[in-house]
Symmetry: C2
Amino acid sequence: MTTKIPDPSLKRLCNIYQILGSALEEGQRSISSAEIGKKLGASAYIVRKDISHLPEGKGVEDSGKLGLGYDAEKLKHHIAGALGLENPAKVCIVGLGKLGGAIIGYERLSPSGFEIAAGFDSNVNKLEMLKSRVELFPSHEIEDVVRAKGIEYAIITVPAGSAPEVLEQLVRGGVKGILNYSPVILPQDRDGVFILNIDIINDLRFMISHITASKGEKE
Amino acid sequence: MTTKIPDPSLKRLCNIYQILGSALEEGQRSISSAEIGKKLGASAYIVRKDISHLPEGKGVEDSGKLGLGYDAEKLKHHIAGALGLENPAKVCIVGLGKLGGAIIGYERLSPSGFEIAAGFDSNVNKLEMLKSRVELFPSHEIEDVVRAKGIEYAIITVPAGSAPEVLEQLVRGGVKGILNYSPVILPQDRDGVFILNIDIINDLRFMISHITASKGEKE
DNA sequence: GTGTGTGAAATTCTTCACAGCG
DNA sequence: CGCTGTGAAGAATTTCACACAC
């Protein structure tokens, strides 16, 4: 009876999860749907609706009660449980150029519950140069290493040309999800592997078009 | 009578724009809605609907006709016109850490129609070290430089703590849109400034929760 | 009173069905 | 025929209104 949570809701819940984390760090114990909504750029209604999508059960109900909002700690845990964010996820990074390098060295990953279990690059020289706490491997070992280490998720930051081949190896290695930062859109047809395509250039374009296309509208 | 194009449609049109570019590079002259849809991971119906949202007028109608799809060149131009992607956009980058550095050196930006007009960092030493073709300035000059150069868009890659202050300066300098890669969600209340919050960690979480939350669902 | 929880209405987006053109 | 263009049906989301708990 786990009614599937709609995608837009899921996205917001991830943001709410982060907002709750920040609030807690600043010593805030409880927070209202209105306050969350403001930080999120959404209405209080929708925040409550999103929260109501979380599966009931283990004491969810009592996260929000007191006449002044939700218990931040409880709500955060509850979201983590529903979204599968409780235990650290094993992630690998393929492509150690500028962007891949920046990600592999991103300090916020591990405190946020991600374990970077491996890095890959086709340029073997690069592997030796990079001093990293992460184990590095040449790209042709992707399938084996992913399988051996039980890596579940991958981040792709390779050039356009290599992306399809990398995808193939990752899928064969058995990853469940891929974050694709390469400049090609990878279609999600492969098995049940979920692919999220992200591209700075497209985001820039979206921003610009959003602004341009709404020029001259009122309201 | 420029019926506003819905956001989901805009996002896809940006992707379609990129797909058309790739197709053209490979010498493909025409392309059908079904083919675009496949690369996009969407239905042919919706591709056609998205295209139909483009404002009519300057010979849009004849981009797609021939019994086999759209004229890639014409359609691409037409999208560019409607989305405001025709002339290069002036962009600045605030925060020249690993991520900011990766973006400022991203080769694909300028061929895609973006002009990186300035880079900012609060660490003055860093400014001298970075050898870059882009003009670099200390962060306290953001407002002045943005105004003087007529910079329209900004990419923020600073730590969480500095983000609100940077936002303030950018807004005062007069930017129209901001791509925020810092780990705080900036709310869009300021004037008419559009903010797009992007966070790798949230994207990872969304991917994981999407996979986790749909576990055990059929169809 | 302040703030959550949720069914029902309103809106937005997607899918469909089919007309029309080359 | 193959493929586009689009009004109308259908589905999914968001907004609203109001009941209930502290």
